[in-house]
């Protein structure tokens, strides 16, 4: 992974000093609440319902064991000994003290971490496929590009006071695991006709109040121009994006209002002025970025032998077999696998992890890999480089840590925002809904029979739980002061991007598991052998589901 040099270190230390000074001036009454707001947000600090919340950046979901141990230490020292992985691959502390945040940031800086631009109206953390670098269907590793662009966007002086927040995702694989169509900018790495790396550029996608699928404005952007082109997009947005209404301020509204073609023209005009200037990436700069993401020292293993040993274990231990089928992912390198560390144990808020678990997982990342980890937008962790011959031993340890719930990709691997238990903006709680569903569908055979289903829960229209793009989406709504839940069907975040359709009138909290049950029954009754829930829904439409639920 990327390692800081003297420049990165200096910049991050200066940032900590800057925020320490700002916090001191704020506490001394020299900065108003209103002025302090963007300053603290751009350092990750929210003021939540119960306490401040600090969102720490995990750049494009990559971290190492040392960093995870430091996070454990920080969560104990400054918080209640646990933390929460968000749907944007970041990690959140729920109970830090405002006056201690500069110290937390200083501690983070010692392990090359920070909370820069994890909130506020600026360019946020880049997100990428959690299997970058190890995925079998990879076109090119997205991480070096994320790093190049992380540096471009960090403390970009022109784009720190945008009309609204700005999220960018990069996908380097054939199957889109980064949801590029649902970001302010989505980049898809391709190879052009000459075999050179290029980008498809999507702009103006997003969730929230007005979900929109992004428009393609460049179908083959040469790699050396990626910075200048993004700079041009941001220049247009910063000047023309709406600032009179925060609900209409995202770039998707501007692209819609102008039309994608006219927007593209504007970007081209801005771009021409800077296209071949100093922002043009040099091959040296690209090589430099890639040098940090070379394959680790994989061993030459007897892949066939490892596989047959695995098959024996599989037969001997059905719980291991279930985990192997669901939580383990194929790897580029023969004899290796990538492993999902499930943070979806029933009874624990999805994405939550204790300090003890963090330390244990950090140890596992070193014992069963090269000390690297990934965080996922499904709110799990990944150990990216596990020898197949080690899988059984790893499973035993994860199981003892309650991190081996064999539900990845199933209904119970739901994405869920913190909701009303923590978040000041929530209309409704989301964690208890997730738990009620997990309890209702605790029969693994039934879960497996249902196959791949993405269930996403958000506590309000801000859609942090990505409810629009769940095969099944649940959204907390406020009905005359009561917490209700609206259900939608048919969303997809993948290459076949789609926004879910609302099923009908919303439900009380205790009705939700039953509603989900009826939806699943409808699917089971109508499916053909090969169909996933989403496929059946697409074939038969929403009506049969509606009839069953509202009968």
């Amino acid at each position: 992974m990327y390692i800081y040099d003297q420049f990165d270190r200096q910049i991050i230390n200066e940032r900590v000093a800057q925020f320490r000074d700002q916090t001191e001036r704020y506490l001394a009454g020299e900065i108003t609440d209103e002025q302090f707001l963007p300053l603290r947000l751009q350092n990750g600090l929210y003021i939540q319902r119960l306490a401040p919340m600090l969102r720490i950046c995990i750049p494009y979901g990559t971290l190492n064991a040392t960093q995870l141990r430091k996070l454990a230490e920080i969560s104990r020292k400054y918080d209640k000994g646990y933390a929460h992985f968000s749907t944007r691959q970041n990690i959140q502390l729920n109970w830090p003290k405002l006056e201690e945040v500069p110290d937390i940031l200083a501690d983070l800086a010692t392990v090359e971490m920070h909370a820069n631009q994890t909130s506020g109206n600026c360019i946020r953390n880049f997100t990428a496929d959690q299997f970058s670098g190890v995925a079998q269907d990879e076109v090119e590793d997205a991480r070096p590009w994320c790093e190049i662009l992380r540096q471009w966007s960090t403390f970009h002086p022109e784009f720190a006071f945008l009309p609204r927040k700005f999220k960018i995702a990069i996908c380097g694989s054939k199957r889109d695991r980064a949801a590029v169509a649902f970001h302010d900018i989505g980049l898809e790495i391709i190879k052009d006709a000459q075999g050179e790396t290029a980008f498809k550029v999507f702009v103006g996608g997003g969730l929230g109040r007005t979900p929109v699928i992004g428009s393609l404005i460049h179908d083959s952007l040469p790699k050396e121009h990626v910075i200048s082109y993004l700079d041009a997009i941001l220049r247009v947005y910063n000047q023309l994006g709406r600032r009179d209404n925060k609900y209409k301020a995202r770039i998707k509204i501007l692209v819609k209002a102008m039309g994608a073609e006219a927007f593209k023209q504007k970007v081209e005009e801005e771009w021409q002025a800077i296209k071949d200037g100093p922002m043009t990436l040099t091959q040296d700069a690209i090589d430099h970025a890639f040098s940090f993401f070379q394959p680790p020292a994989y061993e030459q293993v007897d892949a066939a032998g490892a596989q047959s040993a695995l098959d024996d274990k599989r037969l001997a231990e059905p719980r291991f077999a279930a985990w192997l089928s669901h939580n383990v992912v194929a790897h580029k390198q023969p004899g290796y696998a990538a492993v999902n560390v499930s943070l979806k144990e029933t009874g624990v808020a999805p994405g939550d992890i204790t300090a003890e678990q963090m330390e244990a997982v950090a140890d596992l990342a070193e014992e069963f890999g090269f000390g690297e980890l990934r965080s996922t937008h499904e709110q799990n962790l990944v150990l990216p480089d596990v020898r197949k011959s080690d899988l059984f031993a790893l499973w035993q340890k994860l199981d003892a840590l309650r991190l081996a719930s064999p539900v990845i990709g199933t209904l119970n691997d739901m994405i869920c925002c913190p909701g009303g238990d923590y978040c000041a903006l929530a209309n409704a709680k989301s964690i208890p809904v997730a738990e009620a569903i997990q309890r209702r569908f605790d029969d693994l055979d039934y879960l497996y029979d249902l196959g791949e289903i993405e269930l996403n829960i958000s506590g309000c229209m801000n859609a942090c739980g990505h409810h629009h793009i769940g095969h099944i989406g649940i959204l907390g709504v406020d009905k005359k002061g009561q917490e209700f839940y609206q259900v939608s069907l048919g969303g997809s975040q993948s290459n076949d991007a789609a926004i879910g359709k609302i099923l009908g009138p919303s439900f009380a909290q205790d009705e939700v598991p039953e509603v989900i049950s009826k939806l699943l029954e409808t699917y089971v009754a109508n499916r053909t052998e090969e169909e996933r829930f989403l496929d059946t829904y697409r074939r038969i439409g929403i009506e049969p589901f509606k009839e069953r639920v509202y009968a």
Partner: protein, 161 residues
């Protein structure tokens, strides 16, 4: 209008007057008039001399065309610190060859001085702040990742150098 401003890194006295309301005759002395007023009264204002313009937050520098090079000073107004359009205007004015004094006016805040500087501003009519302390914020960062007006080489080129 404060009579002290931050300019080129120091607190200095200043005699420019920003004209926000155009009522009656323009006062004597150095004045900064709305860009629109300049465009409509160019000849008279040119004859008068001691005139600069200010851009509102919805006025791109493109509005002034090639006139920009004729000014000793151009100001950009920030109606609120959260309105970041002026950062782009500053950068664009410099890119289009304006080399005079580029001044931020209005509701921006001390903690934006570093970024404003990077976008080409060199003078700051900062309100409600202790200017002698505020100058410290100009130097929040000594290294920068990306290209900007004060940093023509991005870090990836510096690394190779």
């Amino acid at each position: 209008m404060p009579d002290r401003i931050i300019k080129d890194g120091a607190v200095v006295d200043d005699s420019w007057q920003v004209i926000r309301e155009l009522e009656g005759d323009l006062p004597a002395g150095k004045i900064i008039v709305p860009a629109q007023h300049w465009l409509e009264n160019k000849d008279a204002l040119q004859a008068r001399g001691d005139v600069a313009v200010w851009l509102a937050s919805d006025q791109s520098p493109k509005l002034l065309g090639d006139d920009i090079k004729s000014f000793e000073l151009i100001a950009v107004d920030f109606p609120a610190f959260a309105d970041g359009r002026g950062f782009s205007y500053g950068r664009e004015l410099r890119e289009r060859g304006f080399s005079g004094e580029l001044r931020a006016i209005g509701g921006f805040m001390r903690d934006q001085l570093a970024y404003l500087t990077r976008c080409g501003f060199n003078s700051f009519a900062l309100e409600n702040a202790d200017l002698d302390k505020a100058v410290a914020s100009l130097k929040d960062f000594s290294v920068h990742y990306q290209v900007s007006i004060d940093n023509p080489q991005p870090i990836f080129r510096a690394r190779q150098g």
